[in-house]
Symmetry: C3
Subunit: 135 residues, 3 copies
Amino acid sequence: MQKIITLTTDHKNGLYDITNEVVSIVRLSKVKTGIVSVYARGSTAAIMIQENWDQSVQNDVITLLRNMIPSGVWEHDHQDNNGDAHLKAGLVGPSESIPIIDYNTGLSTWQNIFFCEFDGPREKREVVITIIEDH
Amino acid sequence: MQKIITLTTDHKNGLYDITNEVVSIVRLSKVKTGIVSVYARGSTAAIMIQENWDQSVQNDVITLLRNMIPSGVWEHDHQDNNGDAHLKAGLVGPSESIPIIDYNTGLSTWQNIFFCEFDGPREKREVVITIIEDH
Amino acid sequence: MQKIITLTTDHKNGLYDITNEVVSIVRLSKVKTGIVSVYARGSTAAIMIQENWDQSVQNDVITLLRNMIPSGVWEHDHQDNNGDAHLKAGLVGPSESIPIIDYNTGLSTWQNIFFCEFDGPREKREVVITIIEDH
């Protein structure tokens, strides 16, 4: 089974929790054991597994990436002025594969699935969810 | 097939080689061609493919991440004092998918699979191994 | 289905676009929906999804990684003098899983698949492509 989650982003840089949507698709698939592949479309976006107890770690992720990858100093900025967004996306990466265990995701208590926006706001972003059964 | 590897960690930051355990599970599955999905549970842990000729690269990984992501300067530290551990885990990422080639992993000579601990020591950490056959 | 792409690299650090080769294998598999797993063999290489409108982002990736991970300062350099290459490879990671949508890759307009060389030039590098059908 494959489904596409769409979302709207409202900041230049932001993390958006899509765990509930992914869990719903896993349950809908009725697959007992396997993996769920989560993939962010767009070369200025990514997927990160991270804690969501409150907003603090999400803010820290944005701070860290801004410090590591400043804006305005890249060759690509002469075109789109979003060189930093591409670099953040490439480093974090668009894909994560999460195990399906007993009809649910195998996320631990503090693991949530985040869509990372690095060049927002955008009206429509897409995340492709693909369900694979194990052997 | 799906199996869970458990391990104990004895340092705050450390890399633990789980290649042998993963290879054993691949062999046990009797899958000739496919992928093995390796997933670290816990939002302060990750999976990294890295050389294991000796301890040097593992030490260098810890040094690099400590330099890139210092401890004690994050918003999340006001709660758990482990903001750096979450950021290291998120950046390295909890999942890797490795090809199965001819009943074995497709790792190259110098590629080993490491569980990365960023907030240890912990009595019990879990890595979920899921075997998927190709089409 | 599983195929191995081979390539020759001509620089110490360089990104090589393998999108066309991956798309060809996906089409050849005649799988309508699923994932394609892309895996770089070699502990000084990696896979990155990145824009390929022109060379600028690729140059920026190399610049960023050189700034983040300088050469010549690592414990592993006492052996091979390529500690930076291992660290870059470990951080970017060797595996990406891309959805297959309607007999094609689910890459967005500006997403391309790059093999990242961090310790070249090399006569022969291998990327393992594995096609998995969804449930």
